[in-house]
């Protein structure tokens, strides 16, 4: 049960925070900056790295004698020092932080393609009619890039439901069951406890869960897509 709760928690954060974060980054990258191409590449790089290498890198930052605590000490926040991955309260947020770090650039690149497909004339005529920047984003950009929102939400959901590598390498689901996800649970039943029947049953339920959630999501976001 804890595993299902953790997985849904990750899913909620990835969709509700990760998605707007990607969109914001995409909007920033869509500004007429000189180093746009370079910036896009830099933010995209984490998406190329394997979750294995990412887990190693972040483990090195978050562990007790890692970079984060060193920086906190440097600025005099000794009280804030934590064993980030070994504490019940912080382990799962740490895992989510890592996922956000990896996924934001990827999502932004997809949104960027969407933003570039929005006709400039629409933006300009809205501007002449006196719409502010935020109004333009809300009433013009977002409806027009709805297909991209659909796909990014879908990828976010699929990614968080399947989450395995990061908690497996960093915390092995711990401390306790604080970072155990459904994917990890199934793996443990199959290869640690060797109860194949249970693992297969959990796998089937898992598949149904994914099918239901993605169906719901697709029917919600698809309905809001508009034709030009």
């Amino acid at each position: 049960m804890q595993a299902a709760k953790n997985t849904l928690y990750v899913l909620a954060v990835m969709v509700l925070i990760g998605n707007p974060l990607s969109l914001t980054l995409a909007l920033l990258l869509n500004l007429p900056l000189r180093s746009r191409g370079l910036l896009r590449t830099l933010f995209f790089l984490p998406a190329l790295m394997s979750l294995m290498v990412i887990s190693i890198s972040w483990g090195f930052i978050l562990q007790y004698d890692g970079l984060l605590n060193a920086v906190l000490t440097l600025f005099g926040f000794e009280n804030g020092i934590q064993d980030w991955l070994g504490t019940m309260d912080y382990a799962l947020p740490a895992v989510i932080l890592i996922l956000l770090w990896q996924g934001t650039g990827f999502g932004a690149v997809i949104y960027l393609a969407g933003l570039q497909s929005v006709p400039r004339e629409l933006q300009e005529s809205a501007q002449i009619d006196g719409a502010t920047g935020l109004q333009r984003i809300y009433h013009i950009t977002i409806p027009l890039i709805m297909p991209f929102i659909t796909i990014n939400t879908f990828l976010g959901i699929a990614g968080s439901l399947k989450l395995f590598d990061v908690p497996f390498v960093l915390t092995n689901g711990g401390p306790g069951t604080a970072t155990t996800t459904l994917g990890l649970l199934i793996y443990k039943y199959a290869f640690v406890h060797e109860s194949y029947g249970y693992a297969t049953a959990a796998g089937m339920l898992f598949m149904i869960l994914i099918a239901v959630i993605t169906f719901l999501q697709l029917s919600i976001t698809r309905r809001r897509e508009v034709e030009m």
Partner: protein, 274 residues
């Protein structure tokens, strides 16, 4: 107008700083891989002397060469098979996309929605039954199967955009279907092939779950499972782990710089269609 330009300049500066901060986790590892062992955990300082000892340790390790070989072989053969099968499938479906072929197409793409974890036990049992468990062949077959749905979509879409006059001309000259495909169609599909390769190479190279489960003997490890094993073996000596992580990542980053336009285009085209 001038105000806007200054605003943009500031935005640009902020974004560049943000991007550098964003890459700190990787830069941190990169730096640590050059530090002498005694300084690896001294996170805030640059190495007092740049050393290649950790890289030397990795290159001198027999298992490294073996797992690099495994990773390269598995990745390249999987990609080869994917291209071979899905280009032909995409051609058949794209040219006569009705009836039977349409059904085949739906069966192929329905593979996209089945999550990996649901199939571990069935695949494990099946592979044991046909003696493919713990073989690189199994991994190649699994990756090929995994990439088929998306690659078929890409090829099918692309084939539909190729005019069929050339095939008709070839048929008149007495050129058979197979030969037409390989001498005329396949070269024309090159952009699609590029997209299929670049969108899959990273996934296969980086996969950890598959080799962890299906390739358990040491000689068959890929780079990702080797990193994991290093991590299990060395609880204090992290230098070589970092060096190995860097070595396993650099080829991908280099490749990305060469193919990034194609990659990003393929990614977004595929994402929106799918």
């Amino acid at each position: 107008m001038k105000k806007i330009r200054i605003g943009l300049g500031i935005a640009e500066l902020v974004m560049l700083i943000a991007a550098c901060l964003f890459l700190v986790p990787f830069l941190n590892v990169l730096l640590a891989s050059f530090k002498p062992s005694s300084e690896v955990f001294d996170a805030l300082h640059f190495p007092s002397s740049w050393e290649f000892a950790h890289y030397g340790a990795i290159l001198g390790e027999g298992r490294f060469a073996q797992s690099l070989f495994n990773t390269v072989v598995i990745t390249s053969l999987s990609l080869g098979l994917v291209v071979l099968f899905t280009s032909m499938a995409g051609y058949a479906i794209g040219r006569s996309g009705k009836g039977l072929f349409q059904i085949v197409f739906f069966i192929l793409i329905s593979g996209m929605i089945i999550p990996l974890q649901s199939t571990i036990i069935p695949i494990f049992k099946l592979a044991t039954a046909i003696s493919l468990i713990n073989t690189r062949t199994l991994m190649i077959l699994l990756y090929t199967a995994g990439a088929i749905p998306f690659a078929t979509i890409i090829y099918t879409g692309f084939v539909k955009g190729i005019p069929s006059e050339m095939e008709e001309a070839a048929a008149m000259e007495g050129c058979g279907k197979t030969r037409t495909f390989f001498t005329i169609i396949f070269p024309l599909l090159l952009p699609a092939t590029g997209t299929v390769i670049v969108t899959n190479v990273f996934t296969i190279w980086n996969d950890f779950f598959g080799p962890l489960i299906y390739l358990y003997s040491p000689g068959k490890q890929t780079l990702m499972t080797l990193i994991y094993q290093f991590k299990q073996e060395r609880t204090t000596d992290w230098g070589p782990i970092f060096a190995l992580s860097v070595i396993a990542t650099i080829p991908l980053i280099l490749l990305f710089f060469f193919v990034q336009d194609k990659f990003l285009k393929g990614l977004t085209a595929g994402a929106v269609k799918g």
